[in-house]
C-alpha cells in the first residue's frame, strides 16, 4: 500500500517570503499522480497543484511550484511571495492509476503560518 509522509507538522513564513513544504511517498508503481491540497480554516479541500509522474517538468501554478524527484520519491511544494491568505493546512496526496477506485492517499499535513 502506498504511504505519504509529511515530516513538517508546522512551518512559519514571513509575508512575501518563500516557504517549502516537504513530502515523500512510498510506491512500487511507475505511473501515478501527486497533488497538493490546501485546507483553510473553513476546512474545504482546495486543489493547489498536481503533477503527473510521467512528466519530468515540474508543475507550476502562479506562486506555487513543485520539485518532483521521482527517483527519490519526493514531492515538495514551494510557495513564493507568501500571502496572509496562504495560511492553511497543506496536504500532499498520491493517486494510483492502477487501483480500482484510484483513491487519494493523504499525508498527515503541514500547517503553514504566515506572519505579517
Amino acid at each position: 500500500a502506498q504511504t505519504v509522509t509529511q515530516s513538517q507538522p508546522e512551518m512559519s513564513v514571513q509575508e512575501a517570503e518563500t516557504v517549502t513544504l516537504s513530502c515523500t511517498y512510498d510506491t512500487s508503481e511507475s505511473d501515478y499522480y501527486l497533488f497538493w491540497y490546501k485546507q483553510p480554516p473553513s476546512r474545504q479541500m482546495i486543489l493547489v497543484i498536481r503533477q503527473e509522474a510521467y512528466k519530468q517538468q515540474n508543475a507550476t501554478e502562479n506562486r506555487f511550484s513543485v520539485n518532483f524527484q521521482k527517483a527519490a520519491k519526493s514531492f515538495s511544494l514551494k510557495i513564493s511571495d507568501s500571502q496572509l491568505g496562504d495560511a492553511a493546512m497543506y496536504f500532499c496526496a498520491y493517486r494510483s492509476l492502477k487501483a480500482a477506485g484510484n483513491k487519494l492517499t493523504f499525508g498527515g499535513g503541514t500547517r503553514v503560518l504566515v506572519k505579517p
Binding site: 491540497y37 476546512r43 474545504q44 479541500m45 480500482a100 477506485g101 484510484n102 493523504f106
Partner: protein, 115 residues
Amino acid sequence: EPEVTQTPSHQVTQMGQEVILRCVPISNHLYFYWYRQILGQKVEFLVSFYNNEISEKSEIFDDQFSVERPDGSNFTLKIRSTKLEDSAMYFCASREVYLGGNTIYFGEGSWLTVV
C-alpha cells in the same frame, strides 16, 4: 466553475441514530468518493463508487456504512447507528472517468457531531 455540493454542512445527532449525508457531484463526473477527517487528523479514504457499485472501500467502511446513488444526481453516505467516534468532517469528492481524469474535486464537507 462546477463544484461538488454537500448537505448538510453541519449535523448534530444522538449516538445510535441513523445519519444520511448527501452530495451532488460535478455533473459529468462518474467516479465518486467519500473521505472523512477526524478533527486534527489526516484525511482518510472511506469508499469509491462507480457504475452503481463500490469500487474500493477501506477498513473504516464497515457494515454500519453504506453508499447509494438514488437518482441521477445525488450520492449519499448512510451511517446506520452512529458512534461517538464517527464525529468527523465527511468529504464527498468526484472525478471524470476518462484516463486523464486525474483530479479529484472535493465538496466543502459535512461536519458530523455525535453526542
